[in-house]
């Protein structure tokens, strides 16, 4: 079953076409890697999918809702973690969870339950009253993920969640992604680490606004006779 369904989705800014008629589907409970060079149009496409930006033409549905006409409904069913983690640095761990729970319309009881669960899962018992600003990057990152999924969304969008993160910390973060997918949550993720592209069930590679490749990492490596996703990416981007 598709949880994201995109058909000829296009976004123009004046005469510049940022997203040029892209089409793809994402199945429920899968990890979908949304790859591309800087400036290829990934962020613009993602903003349309989470209902923040209206498409110029084409259609897309996310969790069964139309991005153009039902953006409010979409935002209740999705989680979004931006590059800058969207946590309030001057609030404590618990206050951040409470704040986001409130935004998503959870009851006090639900917020308390979610809060206990997150604190336990992340082993943050001793830090629940700590200001987020003083947490190490790896913890902030995992907390941001948990906060973005506090309302049990059907799909979670992660925009470069591991940028600038060391080899161990980013792998621990991927453990968390696997765990969510295992529980049936769909994960839509962008990354510049090509080894992480291999961890996805399917990937798309955007070049200058268009999707140039779409499939599982193994299918794509066979199709382009590339040894690694890194080789494949360089081949596609350089050929433009």
């Amino acid at each position: 079953m598709s949880i994201v369904s995109v058909k000829n989705l296009t976004k123009k800014f004046g005469s510049f076409t940022a997203v040029d008629s892209i089409s793809f589907e994402v199945d429920k409970g899968k990890i979908f890697g949304f790859l591309g060079a800087n400036g290829a149009g990934k962020t613009t496409a993602m903003k349309m999918l989470i209902g923040l930006l209206a498409p110029t033409s084409g259609q897309a549905t996310v969790a069964g809702f139309d991005v153009a006409s039902e953006p409010e409904s979409i935002r209740k069913r999705i989680g979004y973690m931006s590059q800058k983690f969207s946590l309030y640095e001057d609030l404590t761990v618990r206050e951040n969870i409470r704040f986001y729970g409130g935004i998503y319309g959870l009851t006090d009881e639900e917020i308390d339950q979610a809060s206990d669960k997150i604190v336990e899962e992340l082993d943050l018992q001793e830090s629940r009253k700590t200001l987020v600003a003083s947490l190490p990057l790896g913890w902030k990152q995992k907390l941001a993920f948990s906060v973005a999924s506090v309302h049990n969304p059907d799909i979670i969008f992660l925009d470069e969640p591991t940028g600038g993160v060391d080899p161990v910390t980013r792998r621990r973060f991927w453990d968390r992604i696997y765990q969510s997918a295992d529980q049936g949550v769909t994960v839509f993720v962008t990354t510049h680490y090509m080894d992480e592209a291999e961890y996805c069930d399917r990937v798309s590679i955007m070049v200058e606004g268009r999707i140039e490749a779409l499939g599982s990492p193994n299918e794509l490596k066979t199709e382009y006779t590339a040894d690694t996703m890194d080789d494949l990416f360089v081949q596609l981007v350089r050929s433009q």
């Binding site: 591309g36 060079a37 800087n38 400036g39 590059q83 190490p136 990057l137 790896g138 470069e160 940028g163 600038g164 993160v165 060391d166 080899p167 161990v168 910390t169 980013r170 792998r171 991927w174 453990d175 696997y178 765990q179 997918a181 295992d182 510049h192 680490y193 090509m194 080894d195 291999e198 961890y199 990492p217 193994n218 690694t228 996703m229 890194d230 990416f233 360089v234 981007v237 350089r238």
Partner: protein, 304 residues
């Protein structure tokens, strides 16, 4: 500029960011500094850039004393901080002119040095820096850091958030800069980039864990490392981590890398994997890469 760092420690209040670090950065090297977030990389870079004076220890850069000759030394340093220090409301050309004028030089004077990188952004010279893509901003920031032909170039995570192709191009530029005889110190979270350095230093929790030619570091690493293929990565990772003889297990692209106890012979080690026969497609002994080495050294520290 030969850099000699002797017993440097630095504290921010009760937090010690660097602990008795000794390091020599040879003249003309392309020197990589790697380590997790909070390991002291940026503090070390700020000390090298003469922006802070270390709490303890001595440092000499070329023939300069970092405290007494600070002003003269600063003219010889190009520093590109993690968040590029560009003026976003100035155009590309204005940013370059501004940095050139600070150092009493002009864009034309050192054009040959920055030509390779500047050519790539020149078509956008009338565009405001705030309107550039991440890769372009990074190239402009590099041009600004090089405009006065420094003898020492300090780059704090210049390729974070930059795509795989732009990263390669950026490192090709660093090779050119090294050929010009400029000593470059660079930090990076990408281990493929660490392999392109003439030397790397691994920092962890303010301490220096390793320092050598990256190829020699990987060749001499003693890790009993296995590459495992499986269709159930998440589940098998959990199982491996519970195993007494497994030191660590992490995904590596389409494989899982598993470090088992060094004392185990190949036959004994392969018995571990036989237990998971129904979940494993293959398991074979491999030589570690720089990323494995990073994980191994930092995981050992976490356990201690």
């Amino acid at each position: 500029m030969n850099i000699s760092i002797n017993n440097i420690s630095h504290n921010y209040g009760a937090v010690s960011a660097l602990k008795s670090v000794n390091l020599t950065i040879p003249d003309g090297s392309l020197f990589g500094v790697i380590g997790p977030d909070g390991s002291g990389k940026t503090t070390l870079f700020r000390i090298l850039a003469t922006l802070i004076v270390p709490s303890e220890g001595e440092i000499s850069i070329g023939d300069y004393d970092v405290v007494e000759d600070m002003r003269a030394l600063r003219n010889q340093i190009g520093y590109m901080p993690g968040r590029f220090s560009l003026y976003l409301d100035l155009t590309v050309e204005e940013n370059l002119q501004f940095f050139a004028s600070i150092f009493g030089t002009s864009l034309e004077e050192n054009r040959s040095l920055i030509d390779a990188v500047y050519k790539q952004i020149e078509p956008f010279k009338k565009r405001k820096a705030g309107a550039l893509s991440g890769g372009m901003k990074q190239k402009l920031a590099l041009s600004c850091a090089l405009i006065h032909r420094p003898e020492l170039l300090i780059l704090d995570e210049p390729t974070t958030g930059v795509d795989a192709v732009s990263r390669r191009e950026f490192w090709d530029l660093l090779d050119l800069i090294q050929k010009e005889g400029i000593t470059t110190v660079v930090s990076t979270p990408y281990m493929d980039e660490a392999m392109r350095c003439s030397e790397v230093a691994l920092l962890f929790d303010g301490e220096l864990l390793a320092n050598d030619d990256p190829k020699r570091l990987t060749q001499t690493a003693e890790i009993n490392l296995w590459a495992v293929e499986s269709d159930e990565i998440f589940k098998i990772l959990q199982d491996f981590r519970k195993h007494d003889n497994v030191n660590w297990a992490f995904s590596f692209g389409e494989q899982i890398h598993v470090a088992v106890d060094k004392s185990l012979e190949e036959r004994e080690a392969s018995k571990i994997f036989d237990q998971y026969n129904d979940q494993i497609i293959s398991a074979k002994r491999i030589e570690p890469g720089i990323e494995d080495l990073f994980i191994d050294l930092t995981e050992q520290e976490v356990e201690v």
